[in-house]
């Protein structure tokens, strides 16, 4: 791994009685797309906002391009671009005007036409911000984050609340950033986003970083197993199901039972027999290869989007 451009050490943050971050540490190499994956309230936004200089950490250190976000001043701000989770522009500001405005504030020369084309906003260049759709606003937010050619790009839940088509468009933009060797830190609670886009993923929960690695490395925790998710007519003790043939893990998640098995056919046969003997019924059954969701469930016993 090349030298770290983002360094986070023992970061802590508290909001009143709530401990949002409990000693989070990680590093991001230049040119890497790094994901912070976790449910709502896990501490993702606190982490990214400390790195953007928007919040002050209670403890630990954060460095981006060698600069402290709180004291790095204009040099820090010019080295980073960010898409915030909740932000806006005035409704009566036109798309091309917003690009010009932020380019001037950063002292950057910008080819507005090229930027508008790149983000599919050419037809909307004279449109007011207030008239844009959610997807167009998000594409504009990303364009504004890149208007000054930053080294590091922070994307806080860039696809949250967007429909699948727009989400795919945002994925394409992030993949383009990877090709341009930009360093990207993105937070998400979408598994497919982390798996598809990120070189490495840190799973974060209740302010703790609970796993870190490439999506492949993380999924190897469940290597060799298949995920069998079933809905039963009556709740069942997961302890009994753990003893079924091939089962390596079994948990109740959101009222459904998730089993991991090294021998799926045998497990399913044994499960059906067990249900018959217990006077229980199988209502639905899904089989899938393990995903980061399974890693999260294994680590926390909960789904990501609970």
């Amino acid at each position: 791994m090349s030298e770290a451009i983002v360094q986070v050490r023992d970061l802590t943050k508290r909001y009143g009685d709530v401990e949002a971050l409990r000693g989070v540490s990680f590093e991001i190499a230049e040119g890497e797309v790094f994901g912070l994956l976790g449910p709502n309230g896990a501490g993702k936004t606190s982490t990214i906002e400390i790195l953007e200089g928007m919040r002050r950490a209670d403890g630990g250190t954060a460095r981006v391009s060698g600069l402290d976000p709180q004291t790095g001043g204009a040099a820090f701000k010019r080295s980073v671009g960010a898409v915030l989770q909740s932000t806006s522009l005035p409704d009566k500001l036109r798309v091309d005007e917003s690009l010009t405005l932020f380019a001037k504030l950063y002292g950057a020369r910008v080819d507005r036409g090229a930027l508008l084309r790149r983000f599919g906003l050419e037809e909307k260049r004279h449109a007011f911000y207030g008239k844009l759709s959610g997807g167009q606003k998000q594409r504009l937010a990303i364009a504004l984050a890149l208007v000054h050619e930053p080294r590091v790009v922070f994307l806080d839940e860039p696809t949250a609340g967007l429909d699948p088509q727009i989400r795919r468009e945002i994925y394409d933009i992030i993949e383009e950033l990877r090709r341009e060797k930009k360093t990207v830190l993105l937070t998400t609670h979408y598994i497919e986003e982390a798996e598809r886009l990120c070189d490495r993923v840190a799973i974060i929960d209740h302010g703790n970083l609970i796993a870190l690695g490439t999506p492949r490395e993380l999924k190897q925790r469940s290597a060799g197993t298949t995920r069998i998710e079933v809905a039963l007519s009556k709740p069942m003790d997961t302890g009994d199901l753990r003893s079924l043939e091939g089962v390596t893990d079994c948990r109740d998640v959101d009222g459904r039972t998730v089993l991991h098995s090294t021998r799926p056919p045998q497990t399913i046969v044994a499960l059906v027999k067990h249900l018959e003997n217990s006077n229980n019924e199988l209502q639905s059954l899904e089989i899938a290869a393990p995903s980061l969701e399974d890693v999260f469930i294994e680590l926390t016993g909960r789904r990501l989007r609970e």
Partner: protein, 299 residues
């Protein structure tokens, strides 16, 4: 400074696209001017200048509302957060608000003077340099006070409550709605502690007595001092985020900002010249009026 100018142009552009600017900045003050003149200064003469001073002061003090609400709206809707990412500080944001407000106020002030002179038959134009400098400085002062309110208030609702309280006290006690000499004696003394009073009496002196800038020292010092102090205070307590709370120490800054008004009020109260001059202007203005005009003062 170039960032402040960039943001000023951005704000001007937004204001020109907002119908509220035309309505509150030009149409409503002109409507008030016509209405007050129709009631108190029929037939023109010096009373028009007296009414104009009140309407100009009201327009200038209007900066107070617009800027405080805009800053809170920008903060609550997350617009300030977006600007926070750019390499600029609170001072730049605040200066651009004040500059753009000052520029936007000029056409309204010019229109009010022109209408008073050519449509309402004002018999004098006063010292225009003094009028424009006082109006400009007043706009800066009240804009800055509005920004202090916006920095202290935690929501739009809270901003409107504080604005109403301050606005009413400025309008009712400074001589805009009721001539200063018509207030009970003790209220006249209270009025001397308000920056608005110095704007109104200064505009009356400039418009009616043609007082040059060199003789408006107290007014300029009062408004300029208030503007500087209020700017310093709102820089200290500026908040980018809606959830950030005003630190207790910052509230002390707001309290400290009131000290010069107290000192000026005490000084003017002990001197007594301002109130005497306000009485003299009112008396002379309405005594000079032609016979066919109503003799009752504007209220």
């Amino acid at each position: 400074m170039s960032h402040a100018w960039t943001l000023t142009l951005f704000r001007l552009r937004l204001a020109m696209r907002n119908r509220a600017f035309l309505i509150f900045g030009i149409i409503i003050p002109l409507a008030f001017l016509f209405l007050f003149c129709a009631v108190f200064a029929r037939g023109g003469g010096p009373a028009v200048a007296y009414v104009l001073a009140s309407v100009l002061a009201m327009s200038v003090m209007g900066s107070f509302w617009g800027l405080s609400q805009q800053l809170v709206m920008f903060r609550e809707s997350g617009i300030l957060r977006r600007f926070r990412l750019a390499p600029l500080g609170p001072g730049t944001m605040l200066i651009s608000s004040i500059f753009s407000n000052l520029i936007l106020m000029v056409p309204g002030i010019a229109a009010e003077i022109a209408v008073a002179r050519w449509m309402l038959h004002m018999d004098r134009v006063g010292n225009l340099l003094s009028v424009f400098v006082l109006s400009g400085l007043g706009a800066v002062t009240f804009a800055t006070l509005g920004l202090v309110v916006a920095s202290v208030a935690n929501s739009m609702m809270e901003t409107q409550v504080i604005n109403q309280l301050l606005w009413l006290s400025f309008i009712l006690l400074s001589g805009v709605a009721i001539p200063l000499p018509s207030l009970p004696g003790w209220l006249q003394e209270v009025a001397l502690f308000l920056p608005a009073t110095y704007l109104v009496t200064g505009l009356e002196r400039a418009l009616i007595l043609k007082v040059p800038l060199s003789q408006l020292g107290a007014e300029l010092a009062s408004l300029g001092g208030s503007a500087l102090l209020a700017f310093f205070v709102c820089q200290q307590i500026f908040r980018w985020e809606p959830e950030e709370k005003v630190p207790r120490q910052a509230k002390l800054w707001v309290a400290a900002a009131l000290i010069p008004f107290l000192l000026l009020g005490v000084w003017e109260s002990s001197r007594g010249g301002r109130l005497a001059e306000a009485r003299s202007i009112l008396r002379n203005t309405f005594n000079e009026r032609p016979a066919q005009r109503d003799a009752s003062p504007p209220r």
